[in-house]
């Protein structure tokens, strides 16, 4: 077992960065998470996770072009690094393996 730790929200952010592929920056990620999960997400929470993931080396980033809808400011576009993919895969694997280990009996609730 590797020691890569990924928080629940971090994992969602990492996944969403992958989903948005070419246009993964904070605002778009915030909206995408809100749309897909239905939970209300604040942009500062997303910022926090993005920078932390970058620090851990799971994300890479570059600056995009200035846009008028952002008051002429550039945005930081994120992309997944190979290490990020590894972290995601490991996390998924762990979950799947744990899930398959649950005995069927645990899901048989006695009615009444």
């Amino acid at each position: 077992m590797s020691r890569i730790h990924l928080g629940e929200f971090e994992e969602i952010v990492l996944l969403t960065v992958g989903v948005l592929y070419d246009d993964a920056y904070a605002v778009a990620i915030t909206k995408e998470i809100t749309k897909q999960s239905g939970r209300s997400v604040n942009v500062s929470a997303v910022h926090k996770s993005l920078y932390r993931l970058e620090k851990k080396g799971m994300l890479d980033s570059r600056l995009g072009d200035p846009e008028s809808k952002r008051g002429g400011k550039r945005k930081r576009l994120f992309s997944i690094t190979p290490f990020g993919k590894k972290a995601l895969d490991e996390s998924m694997e762990l979950r799947m393996s744990l899930r398959t280990q649950i005995p069927e009996l645990a899901f048989k609730w006695q009615m009444g």
């Binding site: 910022h47 952002r70 550039r74």
Partner: protein, 879 residues
């Protein structure tokens, strides 16, 4: 909307301050993107609020500037301060609760009063052109009467637009009493009906949810409804293009627009707005017009107001002069020579609510002198709460003295200690502010009831609101903390650690001083409350010259048409109903004016005019001075007039009875004065008694039917009887009120002020008493040992109580001496608003002083008695 979508400045500056340079662009870009999007979707004010929240949420380590070593140690010290503060607060729970509740109430009162003031000051500023919009008002001297009207002549708007290039746009609004509106089975009298020119929505920025603002009021019989009224008459249907009946089911108006509900801070309030073009007589070129017509103009930005004001006076000789000649029979020059004058002046839209003193205004005008009073009361209450904090903190200083000593020995500087204690009080004030905000939210509905009007703002309606409240918390914390911080930080470590410092001994004079100020302020507020109540009571019970008790008034008897007499006769069948009279108007309602002239004399007099029936004198209890009242026995009474003493004086008659008058309303006929009644008030006591002329009512004039009903428990049945009788004669709705209740409405703003004062007077004394309780509890605990020894040596309870309360009773005495002259001057200033006023009796002061001392003594008595009854063994065994 003219406003530009800009990033709010203050939060932006804050963001720039904390955000590290290299991340500013990307982070703020994100926030800006959200801001512009929300501004487009949810409106600017919501977007600003969310932006502020975002800025606060983003204030996290990832965005901060990289800290250098120095600031880090500061941060650690602050953490230490924070822990010391919270531990200390928890340790002295009782004082903390006293402090917090006092501060929270004080801050909540301050926020509520501020919201009210902001509402009053923001009137009519939501129109894009409010800076250049003016109302043309009329001022003059007509037959010895100074007049100041918010209204002006109907053709003025057109003339200004055509002949004065400074005028960019103009519109007229007309008020015309209440209207009977119906649609299917929804039938109501509506008071909120106004009529306006088609240019209305170009001058004012009331938003239309449906309909075209340019064309909504063009066609005759068009009607714009507000959202609420659209729902009232049409439910869930779409009202656009549908018809609604106005007056007697004979005229149908088409709904051409739905307006957003009118903001509370607009002096123009309407529920329904009809097109001015509906009635031809409102649009002819007659300048002299008895209706209530307002003219609003938008001027070009470079227009010079003073010179325009001067120029428009030409209109008077040019257009109004000839009509004056027609009505008075004198040329304009002659009319002017007799001392008459009239002129127009421009009243800026933004000042109408608070500064226009003109009569006949559209909305209920505000009163700027009350605003000062409210503002003052708010600040006073806040400071009473702050002083509590200062007093308790300095009194408690001894408990912190050792800490200060140790900190100083360990190398803390004086400045660092000042920071520490201010930081502590800011923490307390922040907690108090959070509580205050909760209080404000909870009591808001009752506060709206109290002030009697909706407020256009709440704490969160602008991003500035939360920001200002946080600012307020810091300010209060700073003000409350700086004096105690100063006292505490000057302790000498040697003195403190040796234990020679007597607890609370320092700054005793300051505490006394603050207690004096607190009680002076409380006594002033209570005296003010008493004076206001006396004046209101005086106005309601003063002999007005007429009788207003037990009179039931029915509106709109003209709906009965020919059944009016039958209705009146039927009413008299009931033994509970004594006199039934119809009249054009009654005291407290609007009076028309008519001009009279002595036969053969040149000067005209303008009198308040009323049409009345035979028994009017009996019903109102008017006293005859000479002559007689109208009587069925005299056939010529249709050409007779009864005047009051003031009118007789105006004419200068020695013996008015039998004098002949002429009036333009009865051309070619002479009117004879048959009686003179004693003066009586027709308006509120703010105003002087005016000359009045009464004439006999012609058949079927609109107005009121008033009836005297006998005193008794059967009032409900009597009303039911009147209503039944009414519905026997007509199917129109029945509408009644009691005369005395209606008259009391004239004093609404005084009554409101009185109620507001009562509430805040109670709060101020309550907060001051909280402080007292804190102080006395503390004194008792500090002198516990002293009390024990005194008791052992034989001191009685009474002498101990005297000992303990001495420190507090003395400042209270001084406060009463100080408060009296200040309160006298303040209430005298307020009473100058009234033409008839009370003289201030010394009892008001004595009473309020007694109240304060009594409440203060009760507050401290529990603690003192508790302290003196302690068993001395317990207090002396301590060590």
């Amino acid at each position: 909307m003219n406003k530009q979508i800009n990033i709010p400045k203050i939060p932006h500056t804050f963001f720039k301050w904390y955000c590290r340079q290299e991340r500013y662009e990307e982070l703020h870009g994100d926030l800006e993107e959200f801001f512009y999007e929300r501004a487009a979707e949810k409106g600017l004010s919501r977007a600003r609020l969310y932006y502020l929240l975002d800025v606060i949420r983003c204030c996290q380590p990832y965005a901060w500037k990289k800290t250098k070593g120095q600031t880090n140690s500061n941060l650690i010290m602050f953490r230490n301060y924070y822990f010391t503060a919270t531990r200390n607060l928890v340790k002295h729970k009782n004082y903390f609760l006293l402090n917090i509740s006092g501060l929270a109430i004080g801050i909540a009162s301050f926020i509520l009063i501020s919201l009210y003031l902001v509402n009053e000051l923001s009137y009519d500023r939501f129109h894009a052109n409010f800076e250049n919009t003016y109302r043309v008002q009329t001022k003059g001297n007509i037959n010895g009467q100074i007049v100041d009207w918010a209204t002006s002549n109907p053709p003025l708007a057109k003339t200004l637009l055509n002949e004065y290039p400074e005028t960019a746009r103009a519109t007229r609004i007309r008020r015309s009493g209440s209207w009977f509106i119906s649609r299917e089975d929804q039938k109501f009298y509506e008071d909120g009906v106004l009529f306006a020119d088609s240019t209305f929505f170009q001058v004012f920025d009331f938003k239309l949810l449906a309909g075209d603002p340019k064309t909504a009021l063009v066609h005759p019989r068009s009607m714009v409804l507000t959202e609420t009224y659209a729902r009232k008459y049409f439910g869930d249907e779409d009202p656009m293009g549908k018809e609604i009946a106005v007056e007697q089911d004979t005229i149908f108006y088409k709904v051409t627009g739905i307006a957003e509900n009118i903001p509370a801070n607009s002096h123009i309030q309407f529920d329904m707005l009809g097109s001015m073009s509906s009635y031809d007589e409102w649009n002819d070129d007659g300048w002299v017009d008895s209706g209530i017509n307002y003219t609003y103009v938008v001027l070009h930005e470079n227009a010079v107001i003073a010179s325009l004001e001067e120029k428009i006076q030409e209109i008077i000789p040019k257009y109004i002069g000839p009509e004056i000649e027609y009505y008075t029979g004198r040329t304009y020059a002659e009319w002017q020579k007799a001392g008459n004058s009239t002129s127009f002046y421009l009243m800026p839209l933004k000042k109408i609510h608070l500064q226009s003193e003109a009569s006949n205004d559209l909305g209920v005008p505000g009163n700027s002198s009350y605003l000062y009073i409210y503002g003052l009361v708010g600040i006073i209450i806040l400071f009473i709460a702050i002083f509590n904090f200062v007093n308790l903190a300095t009194a408690q200083s001894a408990t912190r003295a050792r800490e200060v000593g140790v900190r100083k020995v360990m190398g803390s500087t004086k400045t660092a200690l000042v920071y520490q204690f201010i930081f502590e009080s800011v923490i307390v004030s922040l907690i108090a502010t959070v509580l205050a905000v909760i209080i404000v939210v909870v009591v808001m509905p009752s506060f709206i009831d109290l002030v009697g009007k909706e407020l256009a703002f709440s704490m969160g309606s602008s991003y500035l609101g939360p920001l200002l409240i946080v600012g307020l918390a810091f300010m209060v914390g700073f003000l409350a903390g700086c004096y105690p911080a100063f006292v505490l930080s000057t302790f000498q470590p040697v003195e403190v650690l040796k234990g020679t410092l007597r607890p609370g001994s320092k700054s005793g004079w300051m505490r006394n001083f603050l207690v004096i100020i607190q009680f002076t302020a409380s006594i002033m507020i209570i005296t003010g409350t008493l004076v206001i109540y006396h004046q209101i009571d005086f106005m309601l019970t003063k002999n007005l010259g007429f009788d207003k008790e037990q009179i039931l008034v029915v509106r709109k008897p003209e709906l009965l048409k020919t059944h009016l007499d039958a209705f009146k006769n039927d009413l008299l069948q009931n033994p509970a109903i004594k006199t039934v009279v119809n009249s054009k108007t009654i005291p407290g309602k609007e009076y028309a004016k008519r001009s009279y002239r002595k036969q053969g004399a040149p000067e005209t007099f303008l009198f308040m005019h009323n049409h009345v029936n035979f028994d009017y004198r009996e019903l109102m209890g008017l006293e005859l001075v000479s002559g007689r009242f109208f009587s069925k026995a005299h056939k010529q009474d249709t050409n007779a007039v009864v005047i009051n003493v003031a009118a007789a004086k105006a004419f200068g008659f020695e013996d008015p009875i039998g004098q002949k008058l002429t009036t333009p309303w009865k051309p070619g006929q002479l009117v004879e004065i048959i009686g003179v009644v004693k003066d009586y008030h027709t308006e509120s006591l703010h105003k002087r008694i005016e000359p009045i002329a009464l004439e006999l009512i012609p058949n079927n004039t609109s107005g009121y039917v008033s009836m005297k009903i006998s005193n008794g428990e059967a009032i409900r049945e009597t009303i039911a009887y009147v209503q039944d009788t009414w519905s026997k004669h007509t199917d129109k709705p029945f509408d009644y009120f009691f005369f005395d209740e209606d008259y009391e409405h004239l004093y609404r703003s005084e009554a409101t002020t009185g109620q507001i004062f009562v509430v805040f007077a109670i709060l101020s004394i309550f907060i001051a008493c909280l402080g007292l309780i804190g102080l006395i509890t503390f004194t008792a605990s500090v002198r516990k040992k002293e009390i024990g020894i005194r008791k052992v040596l034989g001191a009685g309870t009474r002498s101990l109580i005297r000992l303990l309360s001495n420190d507090i009773v003395r400042p209270m005495m001084i406060a009463t001496l100080l408060a009296c002259p200040i309160a006298f001057l303040a209430s005298d200033y307020w009473l100058q608003n009234f033409a008839s006023r009370i003289s201030i009796s010394p009892w008001s002061y004595i009473l309020s002083t007694c109240i304060v001392i009594l409440i203060g003594s009760i507050a401290i008595s529990f603690q003192t008695i508790k302290a003196t009854r302690n068993n001395p063994v317990d207090s002396l065994r301590q060590e």
